[in-house]
Subunit: 440 residues, 2 copies
């Protein structure tokens, strides 16, 4: 057995606390896997007093509130950053890497928005910057993309990568309940934050999608190029109509490479019920990856939670311990995508994306209304694949359409024009269909 | 960019040919991922003349029929073994490792049955023996168990790991067709071999299960300790009754660690329809892994086919190229499970396993028959959870039961005794229920 690997932890919240607990509780098995024992020697937390239960005085772990004391500790080889946010996390990670320490972070915002700078620092110092836990909790999707599927040209990937959003859509679909109603329940259960915007508006998913796309396509991290749309405007009836048409609605992150470039988008999406992905329910995450050689593979599991996320944090630490044990002068796999320069692929603007769409148009049930609606669509070269029109309730009735593929710009123009048709009496609901070819 | 990594391939069948094609066709992307170009310099095949299309004279690849010429080639750093079988594959792999070459093999039988010896040779010479493609085709389940989930104590894993068998059960279930009928179709489609025994009797799945269990639990490879039962005795009505009871029948490989030891078994299994695993259809593979920290995660995709398997072979080659580039003196992750000794865990004999069971008992529809059946079960302390009894057709009628958990030995004794009850007029069908706790 090698000499122990010395670890410092910055941030002792859900993920940091869970990781410390896992390292202590499963120390023997982890040492066998890593080829060395993993020894936490210093912890920084904003509330050192409250951490005394997790970090007992006889544990030999130094406890303080300054993350930079961890970064400066000459003994420490691996710094775990589980503080979240940018300040001081960015400086903590950068300084740790520059000091020759390896870093494990669970911070998806930091990697997605500032990762390009940090990977440069890691590269310059031969240090490892690992972030498995930043995407899809306990599912080892980063390792899968970077190593397991490395022989492939990745064509697309699509994921349910926000557990809160998936819980809400699952409950709305199963019980016919409203978004607001289920959100309140999710907050009670602790699945959703008091400020749920980050989850339900798609920012969290966009961070994760940005990271996966960079690995998959070999492009720089481009969070700002990701189109993001939330689930707050969906009504229970949209989920019911989708079901009737053979689909489920999921909040998907989609990264896709076409001849025109790379699409990055997070939005509610119709997925055919023939796809296993459509069956992923509750707070679980799942990602489907299409590689040109392997075909489509799916990875499903808990996308959040202290223990599941700690599983990924500690896997990263074990990887680093194995690197130290093997005496490798640099990380084996590239930290992000390639050894060397990223690809400079064009990004496709949302206006240029083509989608089949689900449209729910609330109209007054008057003679000729369907003809007036379809005429507008026809003028924008949008053709219709399926229609559902139910019986009247009140004077207003929804017309539900599934269109053939049309450019986003045409669809936007058509929806704007439909909004000014006198028969249309409420906001039009539009949900894009997943762009997965049928045979895959 | 580093100097090219020199590769030799032994065996140019489906997997070897697919791997060569992938290396040539996606060379640029693979070089970026690996940090070095991968150069195939020598190929050995039983039919060199027929290989001239894949290996053109101006490719610079030496073509011959002697795999030991590959093993002895001083220039070659990585030997790909895609011959299959034991002879000469075992000697090829052993000599390559002993000559200081890294080996990538797709040979599940070789790893499962002779792996313990081969990993020792690799360990002694600091060489890598990689076998991702030996289990579940393109799904990177070996890397996931060995690295991605390394922080966990694995409690159990269960997999649909034979595509042929899953295709047959899917078709039997969907169309009410017999095993023999679907098998003939699978043979026509090329999904099943002319001699299908290896697939449908479970040997192939047992090989894969043996390998996964060794990594998951840190035990030596113990193929001979794996209980194996095929799918040839299932009738279409068994799949229909299972569906009625809320289950699907899949040919599962199950590895499970309990307080008494390790269970290794391959048999037809009832899986609750609430599990995503029950939805995996056709020739796909899927594995569910329960780790104490991460919870349950699922990995699904193509388990066979030239391109999917090649994806895994080439991923292993890329891992080795990355190791060479980083100057690591030994493999980072242990080849099998631990750095150091395997665990000596007791193996649980099949007789001691407890299962809930599905029983289909063909009886004559006579007064009191149900009482006589249940009395036998009661005498063996087997209690009943659910019963289906349909109307008579002919004089014989099936009694279908779902039992509570009972030891295998009691169930065997009860089934033997039921066979001698005069009302019972045909063989009793018994299918075990998957031992996954409900809450997981």
């Amino acid at each position: 057995m090698q000499s122990p690997v010395k670890v410092g932890i910055c941030g002792l919240g859900t993920v940091g606390g869970g990781s410390l607990r896992l390292l202590l509780e499963n120390a023997d098995e982890i040492a066998r896997r890593a080829g060395a024992s993993i020894q936490v020697v210093r912890v920084a937390t904003r509330r050192p007093r409250e951490a005394k239960e997790a970090v007992s005085p006889d544990s030999g772990i130094a406890l303080g509130n300054d993350p930079f004391a961890v970064v400066k500790d000459a003994e420490i080889q691996v710094v775990v950053e589980t503080m979240g946010g940018f300040d001081p996390a960015f400086d903590v990670v950068r300084q740790a890497l520059a000091n020759g320490k390896h870093v494990v972070t669970a911070n998806k915002a930091l990697i997605a928005e500032r990762g390009n700078e940090l990977f440069e620092v890691a590269e310059a110092h031969g240090t490892t910057l690992a972030y498995e836990s930043s995407v899809a909790g306990g599912i080892p999707i980063i390792k899968t993309l970077r190593e397991g599927l490395a022989a492939n040209r990745i064509e697309w990937l699509a994921g349910i990568i926000n557990g809160t959003g998936n819980f809400i859509l699952t409950e709305m679909s199963a019980g016919g309940r409203t978004f607001e109603d289920v959100l309140a329940q999710a907050q009670e259960l602790g699945y959703a934050e008091a400020d749920p915007g980050f989850d339900v508006e798609g920012t969290d998913a966009a961070h994760k999608l940005t990271i996966m796309a960079s690995i998959a396509f070999g492009i720089p991290l481009q969070f700002s190029a990701t189109w993001t749309e939330g689930i707050g405007t969906l009504e229970p009836e949209d989920l019911a109509y989708a079901e009737e048409l053979g689909y489920r609605i999921k909040h998907l992150g989609i990264a896709r490479r076409t001849e025109r470039g790379v699409e990055l988008r997070v939005h509610p999406t119709l997925i055919s019920k023939r796809w296993l992905l459509s069956e992923v329910a509750g707070v679980d995450n799942a990602i489907v990856v299409k590689g040109h050689a392997v075909g489509t593979t799916l990875y499903q599991g808990p996308g959040a939670g202290a223990d599941a996320t700690a599983s990924a944090v500690v896997a990263d630490i074990i990887d680093i311990a194995r690197r130290l044990r093997a005496g490798a002068a640099r990380p084996l796999a590239p930290s992000l995508h390639y050894h060397g320069e990223a690809r400079d692929l064009p990004m496709v603007s949302m206006d240029d994306i083509e989608s089949e769409c689900y449209l729910r148009i609330p109209v007054l049930d008057r003679m000729g209304v369907m003809a007036r609606i379809t005429r507008v669509l026809e003028q924008h070269a949008i053709s219709i694949e399926a229609v559902i029109q139910k019986e009247v309730h009140g004077g207003s009735v929804p017309i539900v359409l599934l269109t053939h593929a049309a450019p986003e710009s045409s669809m936007n123009a058509a929806i704007a024009e439909l909004g000014s048709v006198p028969d249309v009496v409420g906001p039009i609901s539009r949900v894009r269909v997943a762009p997965f070819p049928a045979g895959e």
